[in-house]
Symmetry: C2
Subunit: 307 residues, 2 copies
């Protein structure tokens, strides 16, 4: 057995956006910035810092510009912001953002429920955003969510995932993140979908975005690593979910991912202790325990004296 | 990538023993029997029904004989009981048990803390139990716990696991279950340890017993399946842990395991819906939510109407 694993992997921390947008309460700007600083100190190279969506639709992230101002650009760190349209792109650029992400899905029903567009409409809306990004030399990421199952349609054909990813690459995405938004994927599916994608696109330009809703996230990471994927999205503490994806559960927890990568000897440059610190801070702010298992276990194994 | 997976796997349900022995409260005999009946209805071929340890040490399972009387032998079902010594074996046989398990570890410190013996002493105590089992035609299983890490010693040399397993096989064990008691293992370790074991023993006589303390259990199942292992221990709902293994977290939840196996197309003969029913019953009895992720998610994906 045992596929050859890549020596290194990139962890894209999405907690500040994908996590906080789904919280019932609004986290203060100061707490968001403190959380981002703790994450930066943990060694991430990629932080999805916020989203320039309509403040009416997502009041949790209404302070996107203020967050960007208070958490400035720094060497070695890519600050990614989600932008839904040209207006969002305009705001993101004004806030000094140099890396943006656009979000669509492989399921029509989910896209309709989530962003009130067809997939084709969403891609059309992204074209001017992508063109602007290209003109301004801004790094572009595309999300293909519900790639392994849809809460309304059930099974999603892998060919549909490839098709949507192709549109995103074609409009200039540097990276496309393939999402198991509702956490239904199993490793054999991951191997199949990544295999199909890798026939068309360089595997180094794919990222996987798993949710641990059914406990399969790390098993799916293994399958993706085995297929050559070297970028993974996760959220410190395992916060997140999706209001339009019933039962989405949390994102794969960054601690759990980093624990796995460390154990496998796959270098990611992120310090587990630093992630735990950020998660503990966020748990305090949110006033609740976060779903990460490694966080609950207190981290990696630390031996103790015999009783 | 993608190792060839075995077409079938056996799930050994350990919740009634490994789960309930760690509960603060004592579950009534009637509720235990109802729980066992629900599990039997879910299709298990192997149920660890109880433990014939000292009722003083484990009051939760003091009713072992009553449970066995009320949940009788039936075709196609192996009722396994843990026995710590000859006295326990005597009680188990008197209760009509025809499959027993003995429990030791790969770590001296853990064995001392858990059963107040050295590993050698524990093996010596099992010899008459094993001899009796052989004479009476009773199926014997051995547990090697802390095979991937010890809460007191830290790393555990894989050679030590092989050595302890060898003693158990040599005294007549039909199956040896290799336990990640404190849930620290990662898949590369599983591949290594199973590889070493498979050099000495038929892989079909190994079982893996994972805890999901750090979220790696299903990733570890994948590694073990890839190495040819076809038997896995789990506990419905993910109950369990170990009083002598600080931070042990829960056993791998049976629902999560069955969800994975179903998704992979690895037949296990256990109905996911039946396991969920047993877990929901147990959650009601214990008066708390159980850790299984699939249980929390409400099972496999069921589509719903668009909002």
């Amino acid at each position: 057995m045992s596929a050859v694993l890549p020596p290194r992997a990139r962890v894209v921390e999405v907690g500040p956006r994908d996590g906080l947008q789904n919280e019932a309460g609004v986290v203060s700007t100061a707490d968001k910035v403190r959380y981002l600083e703790l994450l930066a100190a943990a060694g991430f190279t990629d932080l999805e810092v916020t989203s320039f969506v309509s403040p009416k639709a997502v009041p949790q992230l209404a302070d996107a510009a203020e967050v960007c101002a208070a958490f400035p650009e720094r060497p070695g760190l890519r600050r990614i912001a989600l932008v839904p349209n040209e207006k969002g792109m305009e705001r993101a650029l004004a806030a000094g953002i140099r890396a943006v992400a656009v979000f669509t899905a492989a399921s029509e029903s989910f896209t309709r429920a989530n962003i009130r567009m067809t997939i084709a409409e969403s891609l059309a809306a992204f074209r001017p955003v992508a063109a602007r990004a290209q003109r301004e030399g801004v790094w572009l990421r595309g999300y293909v969510s519900t790639a392994f199952g849809c809460p309304y349609e059930g099974a999603v054909p892998p060919a549909r995932v490839v098709e949507v990813a192709a549109h995103l690459f074609e409009m200039g995405a540097a990276e496309v993140s393939i999402g198991d938004t509702i956490g239904v994927a199993v490793p054999s599916q991951v191997t199949e979908v990544v295999g199909l994608l890798a026939e068309r696109f360089p595997v180094g330009r794919l990222a996987m975005h798993f949710h641990d809703t059914r406990g399969t996230a790390l098993a799916n990471v293994m399958a993706a690593l085995g297929a050559g994927v070297t970028a993974f999205d996760s959220a410190a503490g395992g916060v997140g979910g999706c209001p339009y994806a019933p039962g989405a559960g949390g994102n794969l927890a960054t601690e759990d991912l980093v624990y796995l990568l460390d154990g496998l000897g796959v270098e990611c440059g992120v310090r587990l202790g630093g992630v735990l610190e950020a998660s503990r801070f966020l748990a305090g702010v949110l006033g609740r325990a976060l779903p990460s298992k490694v966080l609950a276990a207190g981290g990696a194994l630390a031996t103790r004296p015999l009783p």
